[in-house]
Amino acid sequence: MALTVAAVVVITQLPTRLGLDLRGGSQLTIQVQPTEAIPTITEREMEAVQTVVEGRVNGLGVSEAVVQQLGNNQLLVQLPGVSDPQQAERVLGGTAQLEFRAQRAGTEQQLQIENQILQGHLGELAALQAALPADGAVGSDTQARIDKLQADIAASETAIANLFEPSTLGGEKLTDAIARPTGGTLWEVVIQFNNEGGNEFAEISKAIAGTGRSIGIFLDNRLLSAPTVNVQYAETGITGGSAVISGNFTAESGRDLEIQLRGGALPLPVEVVENRTVGPTLGRDSIQRSLYAGMAGLAVVLVFMAVYYRLPGVLADISLIIYALLTWAAFNLLGVTLTLPGIAGFILSIGMAVDANVLIFERTREDLKSNKTLYRSVESGFFRATSSILDGNVTTLISCLALFYFGAGLVKGFALTLGIGVLISMFTALTCTRTLMFLAISLPQFRKPSLFCPGLNPVCPDPVRP
């Protein structure tokens, strides 16, 4: 009882997380292609590429975007509610473009101003997105403002990029980047070029040393960092092929820059190999249809049980409803993302949840037929059905495990909901139905065998036990 109440509370308090196929959005699988220079892709490289992709995703300005590793050379990107999947795919694909560019003369103030404008936009956008409701419903005003901000941000980024001179010093000439503590709590990032890169870097740093202008480090045309160069390097530039970027780096921000630089240095092309996009309208349609299907399915099963099994059937119906509530609550509690196949798994598990009850009631009927008392029949019905229920459900769980382990995306969702459903159904059949049955037979008005197995009613199978 308490559990049921808790379940209702959970359902009303915690939102159900809907998959992209229900709320609308794009799911992209990105494959990292090995090249001649880097024939095998290791964990370290994947991490760097992931950072680059995350940077690009952030540039899209999609709230609640998710980037995660898939296997050892793929990334899964989920973009809820993205309105232009083509643009997203264009931005996410391709090799990272890292460039070191010298700032144009006379743009010092402009850079500061542009940077402030950009930070202002970014701040406002972040605040707006944080305030969005969880169900992804965005008012048209807010959406317009978000679109405007994103356009402004893109414009600012271009404006900033224009303050720097084009350069040939690209990421392919950077060999490494490492963040390290400076001794105190501050961190710095060491960058290392190859020969050619070292010479070019010396040139660039010589040109701007002591001028107050900076070297812009751009990743995919977005400014990562703009360090200035001390006057002491005005003669020769920073030589030797390595340099140290210091500033207000914490351990975290230093490491961020390190990974971004390393990602930019990797000439690894990434290709979008899978795109699954569902428009929000279609998603809403699917939800509604599955809701109808689920309701209709549940209703038919409830009626069937009550008509065929009489009183126990009604009790099973009650525990079936409790089952549905508990399962739903479990989804919300565990943060299961509900997808279309997931809903199918849920509906299917309703049918399977009945099975345990059917097993028990059939056993009870048999025992009633062999002239046992009501109490003993119910008792042994539960006892003797238990091993069947256990074996049957464990085998279903084995299939679920296999699916969950090997399956991808949608398939996982199905395996998870069905698995949770099966576990909870075992629980409700062996506890809820049991409690209700014993409660019922403790009340004199219910203590009539005919309510359990209607007399010589032909519905009841003939006793075949010898």
Partner: protein, 320 residues
């Protein structure tokens, strides 16, 4: 109602073999046509599917339905002659195009060309599925792997809880169900062009889980009866076990299939064939549990000289 499983086993096996044979034939023909036992869908073959809805649906200003010819000419201009086109929806305003795998540039060009020719589409009802060939293979391999692993898992579990002969015969019955389900879809692929995707493999696995459940309930009863009646011939033991569990078998299949019928009737297009595969598989599964797995078990015990309960069968069962 009382079924004579053992007496009429020739009939039951005949029905089963007929269906299995027909399924294999359907898959063989399908192999000739598509190079695969079932018509592979986007998930496995790779390709791009664009589903678009005319924007006039939103503003309720539709005048005429979309025409295949119009779309076809746009596709020819893009060099995509071999694509398939379907017009969807009550008002004929939906469009589903299946092409080879298009990259983002090609897709954008195609969509723009379509909009120029037909008019704007509603971005909120667009569905894109684009799967590269690498991913397709990956999905297929992982799906088949899942199927094999769950077979192995079930054999292991059943040998542990029952005995190895129960387990192997249960797997035989499962193979029967999987083959028949695949056969029905091979046939659907040949006749209606129905394709199988990852969800189909999911449905096969679910069929496996469900059908073994059915078989287990019957075997559980056989085992119990063997213990209670050590002097009874195995044929009679199996017969009575099947009959004792018969109404349970039928009722459970019914309560499981009913919600699935609801999905077929009300669910969206994605889930329709998924539910249908489950229905076919569950019915095959119930049949094989009741008629095939049981009678095979009796035959095996009879032939291997265990027609009467053995020492091991008389052991009381333990519940862990």
């Amino acid at each position: 109602m009382k079924l004579n499983i053992i007496q009429q086993r020739g009939l039951w096996w005949g029905i089963s073999s007929g269906f299995v044979l027909a399924s294999l034939v359907a898959m063989a023909i399908s192999w000739q046509q598509f190079g695969a036992p079932l018509k592979p869908g986007l998930d496995f073959a790779g390709g791009t599917r664009l589903q678009l809805t005319h924007a006039c649906v939103v503003t309720d200003s539709c005048t005429a339905g979309l025409g295949v010819a119009e779309v076809r000419s746009v596709l020819s201009q893009q060099g995509l002659d071999s694509s398939s086109i379907q017009i969807l929806g009550d008002e004929q305003q939906g469009l589903s195009i299946r092409t080879r795998t298009l990259d983002v540039e090609e897709r954008t060009t195609l969509q723009t060309a379509l909009e120029d020719a037909i008019g704007p589409f509603d971005p909120n009802s667009t569905q894109i599925d684009s799967v590269g060939p690498v991913i397709g293979r990956q999905l297929l391999v992982s799906g088949l792997l899942a199927l094999l692993v769950s077979f192995a898992g079930i054999v292991a579990y059943l040998s542990l809880r029952f005995k190895i002969d129960y387990a192997l015969l249960a797997i035989l019955a499962l193979a029967h169900d999987v083959i028949i389900t695949a056969g029905v879809f091979a046939l659907l692929g040949l006749v209606l062009g129905v394709e199988v995707d990852s969800l189909f493999i999911v449905s096969l696995l679910t069929v496996v889980g469900f059908s073994v459940n059915d078989t287990v309930v019957i075997y559980d009863r056989v085992r119990e009866n063997l213990r209670l009646n050590p002097g009874m011939h195995i044929n009679d033991v199996v017969d009575s076990a099947v009959n004792q569990t018969l109404s349970r078998s039928i009722n459970t299949s019914l309560t499981t299939v009913l919600p699935l019928v609801a999905i077929v009737l009300f669910g969206g297009p994605t889930l329709k064939y998924f539910a249908l595969a489950l229905i076919v598989g569950f019915i095959a599964g119930s049949y094989s549990s009741i008629f095939v797995a049981s009678s095979l078990f009796a035959l095996w015990r009879d032939r291997s000289g265990q027609a009467y309960g053995t020492e091991a069968d008389a052991q009381p069962e333990t519940l862990s």
